[in-house]
């Protein structure tokens, strides 16, 4: 499993009902179901990923998460997960609000657009940044709503989502220690939150 998904799985916990929005090939859910005693459901739009979930035996709904989310009942899940997907949805604020409705806790990971490498690319080269964490060109990126750690925490506060835990990770998905903790918005490439309503 991708190292960043290990961090997400740790923040999700064990024995819970988990909804994984944009679950990809189902690797996270498989880990949560097989090794952490969770029950789960994925939502995935891409057909190849959907079929990868079936092959893993991970229950999944094929479809657009922004259309599927409103169909779940309030409190259907203990945890709703959105890993590296918030920046690709059309209305991140509405998705977070819906997640809050269907689950009592949210685990959300995102790329930090204020990381110094990105700032440098923009400031020094005058070009939209292309990095390991954000490997797309401006014209083909699915990431239409990029934000910084500070931006996200402001939105979370506005939506009455409390940050219960925050793990800073690098582009390879491993937790970062040391300096990053003092200036996360400058030094962390990605971040994983556990949020409560």
């Amino acid at each position: 499993m991708r190292p960043d998904l290990d961090v997400v799985a740790d923040l999700v916990g064990s024995g819970l009902r988990v909804l994984d929005l944009g679950c990809g090939d189902g690797a996270l859910l498989e880990d949560l179901i097989e090794r952490r005693g969770c029950t789960g459901l994925g939502v995935e739009r891409e057909l190849d990923d959907f079929h990868a979930c079936i092959a893993r035996g991970v229950p999944v709904t094929q479809g657009d998460l922004e259309k599927e989310l409103p169909r779940f009942a309030a409190g259907d899940f203990d945890v709703a997960v959105l890993s590296l997907t918030l920046q690709a949805v059309s209305r991140p604020d509405r998705v977070l609000t819906e997640m809050k409705r269907v689950a009592s806790r949210l685990v959300v990971s995102l790329p930090n657009f204020a990381h110094w490498r990105l700032r440098a690319a923009l400031a020094l080269r005058g070009r939209m940044p292309v990095t390991d964490a954000l490997p797309y060109q401006w014209y083909d990126t699915p990431n239409i709503h990029l934000c910084t750690i500070t931006d996200f925490e402001a939105l979370a506060a506005e939506l009455d989502l409390g940050v219960r835990q925050r793990t800073l990770i690098d582009a390879s998905g491993r937790p970062v220690e040391g300096l990053a903790r003092f200036a996360p918005n400058l030094l962390a490439e990605r971040v994983v939150y556990s949020l409560v309503a």
């Binding site: 459901l41 057909l47 893993r56 229950p59 999944v60 169909r71 009942a73």
Partner: protein, 382 residues
Amino acid sequence: MSGVGIVETRRAVVFEGDRPLVLASGATLPEVEVAYETYGELNAERTNAVFICHALSGDAHAAGLHEGDDPSRPGWWDNIVGPGRPLDTDRFFVICANVLGGCKGTTGPSSIDPATGRPYGLRFPLVQVRDLVEVHRALLAELGIERLLAAVGGSLGGMQALQWAIDHPTEIDGAAIIAASARLSAQNIAFSAVAREAIMRDPDFASGDYYENERRPDAGLALARMIGHITYLSEESMREKFGRRIQDAEVPRFGFDVDFQVESYLHYQGQSFVERFDANTYLYMGRVMDYFDPFEDPVRVQRQISRGETSFLVLSFDSDWRFSTEHARVMASELRGAGAPVTFQEISSPHGHDSFLFADPPEYHRTVAGFLDRLARQRGIG
């Protein structure tokens, strides 16, 4: 081209003598015979059995050809059964049986009532999906199979797969429920009612005792089938198939006879149906669907689901307006509410309710194949 080659329908008596079939309603049938076909080989561990549950007008002949058949007219679901197909007969032992109440070899209203020596007619008891499943299970017991890898079915067939998984969760690894509903809508029941009226108001219906008469309620049954057929196709598929084209002419004839191609098609469907189907069976199967409500007692369903580890696949088709995607979504959500793992997909297809019988779009068979493959690998089936 058929994948499984020449096949034959076999028969087994599964209830008789001091072992009558006791129905969910409490009524009994002293004797039940089942017509069935099998494809592929049962493995030594007896773990590779896949059961096809057929829809309202289906029968046991799901795949292959009967001796002397026109090679272009194999069984009704031939495109999904065979070597390398989703119900892969190189890996699975596939079984299909005519349902209880049917008219294709399994005991039904056209069978002889041993008590009177005459056909049952409407004296045949009303049956439910649960009863259909119990008869399938009795056949499996006869074949020495205690557990299914999967039950697969479209429409009424999907209802049986669903009921099977709810009633006997420890006997079934997976249920693939396609273009089905767990609760008919008022609109569905309305269409069903009109079809039933068409049959029962036919003067030749004779209260269901037409078997020994010269005439049968053919007009009523044909009309019922025509109504049904309209609900099986989508508006788009009708437009593409027929449009407003005129049958055998360039210009309209302006009259009350069949003129448009779509009319001619419906007539043909009605007439050919009469030759192969029994009006009473049509009535019984209509009622089987109307009364189907497996989630009526959600507490029971939850208790049942928790006893097993059945995986569910729920599929719908976007052009199906008979059992629309909303039916499938409700079913998926009720199953999840009961704690079951459910994979759901709405497939884009132009063929309406009949989509479950088609091999295109390929996405459909890809999903069914993937679901069965996963179940098979879990059971160590190569």
